[in-house]
Amino acid sequence: MAEIIQEEKGKKGGKRKAKKHGTRIDMTPMVDLMCLLITFFMLTTAFSKAKVMVITMPDKEDTKDKDIDKPQIAAFRTLNIILSEGDKVYYYIGMADPKKPPLPMLIKTNFSKDGIRKILLDKNRDLFTKIAEYRDKRVTGKIVVSDTTLDNEIKRMKKDDKKGPIVLIKADDKAKYKDIVNIIDEMAICNIASYAIVDINSVEKDMLKNAPK
């Protein structure tokens, strides 16, 4: 408790007491506040760095390169995801070629744990298990690697993967920015090796019209 001992005034002609120690204020609460302020500033300056999600797009095609054949990818490995308004996520497997009917059916799902994530995990189970086990080994201490080695190893595993899905992400005009961010997030969560954001084409726009609401 703060103790303030007042200096006694010497009375005129009276007995003068020995000079007491001056006013003493107990500094402990002030030091507590200082501690708190410093800790607050130390933590908030560290937090103010915003987090970012890094995405790399392939170079935009030049019109001259259109003649070069794009490498063929197996139809059953392709997973097309179409984002629409109201957090709706549609997907279909394979190619939608109007010359080879019937067109695949659009399946409706959402961003919950049981939605598109289940589909992605189902198609990507081998690679996901591999990466999850590698991360576990690092966490439990069975192998000791630096952060950069971890990142490089995961990149290598993704590059060497031959069975995982190739995801093509498309969004129609009514999709919101958070839908795209959510789907790219799911790519990171499910450890998808290859995905790309592409433009929606007219065939798919028609498919959307007939899709389940």
């Binding site: 410093i38 130390m42 760095k49 999600m53 920015y177 997030d185 969560i189």
Partner: protein, 214 residues
Amino acid sequence: MPKIKPPVRTPHIDMTPMVDLFSVLLIFLLLTASFRPQEAAVITTPQSVSEKTAPDADLMTIFISKDGKVFFNIDNGRDTSTHFRSKLLEKIGEQYKIKFTKVEIAKFGTMSSFGLPIKDLKTWLNTKETKDKDKLQTGIPMDSTDNQLAWWVREARLTNVGAEVAIKGDADTDYKIVKKVMDLLQDNKVNKFNLVTNLQKQEISVKDIPAAAK
């Protein structure tokens, strides 16, 4: 006869030097921390599991608000003597045939994000009232006839070659506007974007894989 000693008082530690040290520490932290300047529009970024942080210098940021207004910001470089902002304003002035005075250029060098057509820049730099300044910020035009954002990005990249690009978009922005910005950036040979997000961790493990269909 031994004198009765007065009861021993608990020692009072003199806290003054400790308070001094704490004050010095606090002042040091206050001075080295830079205040985040007021942004023109309130933007709630979407959430993501990404834990990477944006670079704190050599970064140009494109803000996209919920209603599609675009703002732009660029810093003065890791070493502020490079004065990237002032150089950028001069280059834009040359491009649009507007002469900026030294005072205006210096003022621009200390400010941060902005979003207004280039013809309003002079008036904006000279307005003193914050309210009037904010009214002028209607967003950087991106229409095909006068794509000012393309010019800002192009000149910024020429001024600071190593700058990275961050996109800070509101979660409810229409994706087509963000796509327009990303296409614009790709036209300027920028293929790596940093999308500013809030961190929200997601727990996932091998148990979440659904059972394989028989």
